[in-house]
Structures are given as structure tokens and as C-alpha cells.
């Protein structure tokens, strides 16, 4: 399958939330006062032990292993699958929205503690203690970064080490966005090796392999446990200057979680050293190459650890059960946000039409909201509203305001002053004029605004899956992560159909609600002129 530019842009989009927005990451790295924020001693009280995983397969598998282990210890557990990048997960942990997530020592060092020197697990643990975060359960493998090329391409260029890349500035580099922005990633690598590259772009880690295979890029970042290295016969370039730090897989958890669920933490400690690099590689391969659900891969592993035979295969959620649930989530996201937007935007539009000065202000304010990229808006909502449906609904609500306010305003100011005079001359009050004459005259335009808000919302709501809101975005993004095209369709097709259905519903509503002379495509003014012309 070709890697289209559209797919690439989707991937970049995914990475923006799943990974680190690069500018934000750089800004944070530069701002020492932000780092590291002490954990407030106010965990959200909850009954379940809440785990998150980062948005890539290995982290999800580790998250599932952790979840299964905790659950086997008799503790209720919640797993926020593929919550986001390191920063998102760390912030969620620090603010008490989750209790634990799998992380890597190199990431803790560079991205969380912002320390340059190498440090062992013990000293990292000591550094995190004041932040009320525990570092424990070294799973037993080091998933360091590496650079990889197709074997044939590397051989043709005579490249075996990263130093040798210096001689080939013409190579096309495609890196995960997180790698691009991390100090232990591309920027550090450029500085250490003195690399000069012209063509560097950010894309999703999983699709970078496809880009390599299809000769769209020449070099990408790899993780040492990636299943694709063997599958795609890739050359791993030697880190001859020893730049990449160690990335031992460990678990970060809140220290107060240990007090609340001692059994969970005790069970998790039994995982110490149990996953070696070969085991992790094998699990990644089962999930990514054999398309087995991460939960099953993790369950088989846990079962085998316990010396039991693998359990009967857990089927991936079948589409017949998944689609109704996704539809429900999606409809809730869209309808609640749209309803709230109508309740707010309609009065705002009326106000804007009645007070031209204030109107300009209102219109430009909702216009500015519209210029914020949808993903950025979603990310802004996370600190305010946490994760799940609320931030997604808030973002959709804000996006819906502009079309409705603008159309309400346009519909009302477009009414001929003579209509208002006729209504006033009858002895109707201002409110009665609005209700009986102005709003009915503007209804077609207002409905058109609500319709476009609704249709746009159905599409935008797929991004809600990136902040854990579910909906049709869930299978789309999981499908991208697992390179599973049918799964992508399982989200994309219903989203498309829903948009069409919404459009149809509003067309129907127009037929029922708007009197014939005002329906779109039949303006009575035009009819009058035509009549006079005969």
C-alpha cells in the first residue's frame, strides 16, 4: 500500500497528540522553572488502580501486562490504552489522574528530570522520590533508540555507523515527532555527530517502516525491540559515538498508590526482570505483525510466566459489538456539544445582530477560536478538563460556535428593515418581533449554520479518541497504530455514514420547519422579481 501524503498528514496529526508537540517540548525543555513539577498531594479518590500506556504498541502491551497482573492480585484496575506521549502520561501521573504507567529510564532522565548525565535506576528512583513518584519494576530489557535503513540502501551508500551519515546529506530522514523534538533524539544526535540533513520530516513511528519499505524515506529512528527490524531486513546503524542513553523499561507509579493498593504493587514487583529483549520483541511481533490484540499477547505472556498454558484466545472486540458502542460514544460527543453550542451561539448571534459594536467583538472572538487547530484545542483542554469525553466535548462545542453565531447574525441582519417596521407597526414588542418575524425569517440560514457545525463535528469528533473520548476515532487510530487497514475502515466508514445521515436529517428538518417561500434555492424576492417581469 502506498503511503499517501494524506496518510502522512494523519500520522503527523496523531503524533501531535500522541507524541509531544515539538515546540511545546522544546519550550518546556528550555524553561527550567517548569521542571519537574512536584506532585500535588491530592490524588483523585477512586476505587480502581488506574494505569495508562503511551501511544505505541510496546507500551500498550506493557500496560496490559501490568493491568492483568494487578487484576490477578484482586485489585480493580482501569487501563487508559494509548493515552498519549511521555509528557501527557507524566502530567496525568503527576496530577493524580492515573496511578502508574510504563516508561523508560532514558525518557525519565532526559524528558522528565532534564538531566544530561547518565544515571542508574537507583539514583533515578532517589531523584523521583521527592516528586512523590516511585520508580520500580525494571521489566528487564533496554529499548534504546537506534537509526535504521533498508539493508540494500545502507550497503549502496556504504553506511554502517551513524558517523557515516555525515557524508550523505541527501538522504531522506523520517522520524517520529517525539524523536524529532527530544534532546536525546534528533537535535542531540545532530549536535553530537555534526549531521547535516536537508530532508527531515516527522511521521508516525509505525508508518515510518512503511515509508522505508516503499522508498519514501531512507533513514528512520527505531526502537531496539521493534519487530519490524527483522521483518523488513533493516540495517541498524552503529551508535559509534555512544550517543543514545539507556532506555530500560520500568514502571512509574504514585507513591501514595502504594499505600492505597499494597497488593497491586507487591504483585507488580514479581514482574521485575521477567521480560527480556527477545520476549518483548516477540510480543511486539505478535501484536504488530500477527495482528493479535495487545490484551491477548499480554495475557499469553502472563499465563506463561505463571507456568500455565496460554488461555483460550481472547478475540479482538468484534465489529458487530464494537460499532454500536463506538456509534453511541460518537453520537454523545457530537450531540451534547452541538446542543450546548446552539444554546450559547443562538443568543450570541442575536446579541451580535442587535448590537453591532458588540457583534463585531463576538464574531471575531468565536472566529479566533476557529483558527486554533483542532488538535491543539484538544490538548489545551486536557489540563482544564482531564482526559476522556469532557475535553473532546468542550473542543467540539467551541468549534460549533462560529458557524451558528455567524449564520444567526447573518440571517438576522439580512432581514429588510421594512419587515421590522411592518412588525413594529402592528404593535408587537421587540421580543415578539424577534420570535414571530425575525427568527422565522432567519430560520433557514440558522439551520444551515447548525447543519455545518454538526457535519464538521462528526468528522472532528474522531480526534476525540486521542484524548480517550472513544468514538469512531478509536478504531481509526488503533488501526493506524497496528497497521490494520480493516480496523481503520471500521471507524472511517461509520464516521462517513454518520456525517451523511446528519446532513440528511437536517435537510429533512429544513423541509419540516422552514416555510416553503424561505427554503434554500427558492428566495421569494427572486420570485417576485420574476413575476413582475412577466
Amino acid at each position: 500500500m502506498k503511503l499517501s501524503s494524506r496518510q502522512l498528514s494523519v500520522i503527523v496529526v496523531v503524533k501531535l497528540v500522541a507524541g509531544e508537540p515539538s515546540e511545546a517540548a522544546t519550550a518546556r525543555a528550555a524553561d527550567a522553572t517548569l521542571v519537574p513539577s512536584p506532585v500535588p498531594a491530592q490524588p483523585t479518590p477512586g476505587t480502581a488502580f488506574r494505569i495508562a500506556s503511551k501511544a505505541f504498541t510496546e507500551s500498550v502491551i506493557l500496560g496490559e501486562v501490568v493491568a492483568l497482573t494487578v487484576s490477578a492480585a484482586g485489585v480493580e484496575v482501569e487501563h487508559r490504552v494509548a493515552l498519549g506521549g511521555s509528557r501527557l502520561c507524566w502530567d496525568a501521573l503527576a496530577s493524580g489522574r492515573i496511578d502508574a504507567y510504563p516508561e523508560y529510564t532514558g525518557t525519565v532522565l532526559q524528558e522528565i528530570l532534564h538531566v544530561q548525565d547518565a544515571a542508574d535506576v537507583a539514583s533515578l528512583r532517589a531523584a523521583l522520590r521527592p516528586l512523590a513518584v516511585g520508580l520500580g519494576v525494571a521489566f528487564g530489557f533496554d529499548n534504546t533508540y537506534a537509526l535504521g535503513m533498508r539493508r540494500a540502501r545502507a550497503a549502496a551508500a556504504g553506511i554502517q555507523t551513524i558517523s557515516e551519515l555525515r557524508r550523505h546529506p541527501e538522504l531522506r530522514f523520517g522520524f517520529s515527532d517525539e524523536f524529532m523534538s527530544r534532546r536525546d533524539g534528533w537535535p542531540g544526535l545532530v549536535a553530537r555527530y555534526g549531521l547535516a540533513a536537508k530532508d527531515v520530516r516527522g511521521l508516525d513511528h509505525d508508518l515510518a517502516y512503511r515509508g522505508l519499505a516503499e522508498d519514501r524515506i531512507d533513514v528512520t529512528d527505531l526502537y531496539a525491540t521493534d519487530a519490524e527490524i527483522r521483518r523488513d531486513d533493516l540495517s541498524v546503524l552503529r551508535d559509534d559515538l555512544g550517543f543514545f542513553p539507556k532506555y530500560e523499561a520500568i514502571l512509574l507509579y504514585r507513591l501514595d498508590a502504594e499505600e492505597q493498593w499494597p497488593a497491586a504493587l507487591a504483585a507488580l514487583r514479581t514482574l521485575e526482570g521477567k521480560i527480556n529483549i527477545a520476549a518483548m520483541c516477540a510480543m511486539n511481533a505478535r501484536a504488530k505483525l500477527d495482528h493479535l490484540p495487545e490484551r491477548q499477547v499480554a495475557a499469553d505472556f502472563v499465563a506463561q510466566l505463571d507456568g500455565r498454558a496460554p488461555r483460550a484466545t481472547a478475540q479482538r472486540e468484534s465489529w458487530t459489538s464494537a460499532v454500536p458502542e463506538r456509534t453511541r460514544e460518537h453520537l454523545v460527543l457530537v450531540s451534547l456539544s452541538l446542543l450546548a453550542a446552539i444554546l450559547v451561539a443562538l443568543p450570541l448571534g442575536i446579541l451580535a445582530a442587535r448590537r453591532p459594536g458588540l457583534g463585531k467583538l463576538v464574531l471575531s472572538a468565536v472566529g479566533v477560536v476557529q483558527t486554533i487547530p483542532s488538535l491543539a484545542l484538544l490538548v489545551f483542554m486536557i489540563p482544564l478538563l482531564g482526559i476522556g469525553a469532557p475535553p473532546a466535548m468542550m473542543a467540539l462545542f467551541l468549534y460549533s460556535l462560529l458557524p451558528i453565531v455567524r449564520n444567526t447574525h447573518a440571517g438576522l441582519v439580512g432581514i429588510a428593515p421594512a419587515m421590522r417596521d411592518s412588525a413594529a407597526a402592528l404593535g408587537l414588542s421587540r421580543w415578539a418581533i424577534l420570535w414571530r418575524v425575525e427568527l422565522p425569517l432567519a430560520l433557514g440560514t440558522i439551520l444551515a449554520g447548525i447543519k455545518s457545525a454538526a457535519v464538521i463535528n462528526v468528522g472532528t469528533a474522531t480526534l476525540g479518541a486521542l484524548v480517550g473520548a472513544g468514538g469512531f476515532g478509536q478504531p481509526i487510530f488503533t488501526g493506524i497504530r497496528l497497521d490494520d487497514f480493516p480496523l481503520i475502515l471500521q471507524g472511517a466508514v461509520p464516521a462517513c455514514l454518520l456525517a451523511l445521515a446528519v446532513q440528511g436529517a437536517f435537510d429533512l428538518a429544513e423541509r419540516v420547519l422552514v416555510p416553503p417561500p424561505l427554503r434554500s434555492g427558492r428566495r421569494c424576492g427572486a420570485r417576485r422579481r420574476a413575476r413582475r417581469a412577466d
Binding site: 419587515m419 411592518s422 407597526a425 402592528l426 404593535g427 408587537l428 417561500p517 421569494c524 420570485r527 413582475r532
Partner: protein
Amino acid sequence: MITNVAPLLQFVGASKTFEAVVAVAPLDLSVAPGDTLVLIGPSGCGKTTVLRMALGLLWPDAGQVRFRGELLSPANVQRARRSMGYVVQEGGLFPHLTAEQNVSLMARHLRWPRARIEQRQAELAALTRFPINALGRYPFQLSGGQRQRVGLMRALMLDPDVLLFDEPLGSIDPVVRSELQQDLVRVFKQTAKAVVLVTHDLSEAAIFSLDHGRVALMRQGRVLQQGRMEELVRSPADPFITKFVAAQPLLAFGHAPEPRSK
């Protein structure tokens, strides 16, 4: 004819200026029940502004507008408007409502019982000779003359004391126009309401003032002469009146006005 009945609508030195342009100079007018007053003059002479001030759609800069002896103000204007019927060119109908809904809008707003609304509509349809089976049509489905009749029905619905017409026949073709003129004259007689009618057409002014109505000729916001049509024609108070009268192919009384192309 000016009667001894207390005036219904009265302008006492009322004036209006738009951005240094005098639309209406201090004006004194009074209309009693049963009166017909035709305001005539060239475009921009201020005659429409007079009507808008009567309705409280505009407020005079100086002087007063009184309705039933009471000073018209934002506090009482809504009630006053319900005692006035206002008809503009093409009827000023609401395009989203059918003829029937246009006519009954105010009555429905005031929560008249359905039967009363229907009865009143039937009366008015007969009075204005509007085909009752066309009541369900939207304005765009009606002819210009029919729209005007609906506008008249709407103005008459609440049985107002005063009818105000702004160029009511301005955009109607000559044949229908003459028919409507006769119908309006008949309605005025039958309903015996005070009428203020604005037009720039001398023959129309003559027809509407024929019985006992007065004509006020306006120019640049001032009333140049007020009285019976014959007085204006025979003894004009101002050279402009002579000119204005001469410019229009007038009417010997009793003759149908000649069709004019606009």
C-alpha cells in the same frame, strides 16, 4: 372637513431632521374620526416621515405627536400602534406567513379565540373582495393587487381607529390600480375610520379626497397648502403648487385617471 370632534391624531409643531437635512419642518396637522387626509408631494418631501412619526417608528426632534389626546411616547406606543393600521407598498407582508397568517398574526399574538379570528377574517375578505380560497397562499403566490388587499385586511384586523397608507398603490398595474382605488374608497366609507394616505399621484389624491377629504401638499418638509382639492387647483397658495398640478395629467373630476407608465 374639519369637524368639532376631538382630534384622534395630532401633530403639534413636530419636526424631524436627518443629518442636517430637514425632513419635516415644524408641522401642525390634525385628523379626527371619519377624516381623510391625503399627504401629497414629490419624492423626499417628508410625507413618509410624517407617517413614521405617527406610528412612533421615528420620534420628532421637537414638538409633539399626540394620539387620542395623549402624547405619544415609547411607553404607550405599542398600545397606540394596535389602534392604527399601517399599509405600505406591496402590503409589507411577511414572506414566511400565508395570507391568513399575515392577517391574523396580531390577533393570534393577543390570543384571540380561533372562531373569532376566523369570523373576522371572513368579514375582512368580503370587505376587501379578497378570494377566501387564496387565504392559504404565501405572498409570493399572490398578485400585487391581492397582496395589497391582504395588507389592508391585516391593517383592519384589530379594528383600528386610524388607517395609515404609504403609497399603497405604488407598484400596481393601472387596471388593478383603478379597481383597488374604488375598493379603498368604498372601504373608507364603510368603516368610517380616520385615514391618512401618502401619495405622489395627484389623480389618486383627488380620488381619495373626493368625498369630504382634505389634501395637504408638501414640499421640502413643509405643508404648502391644506384644504379641499378644488381649492388647491383653483387658488394655489404657492407657485410650486401650480407647477406640481400642471405637471400631472389631471383629472377633470369624475373622469377616470389616465393610465400612467412608471
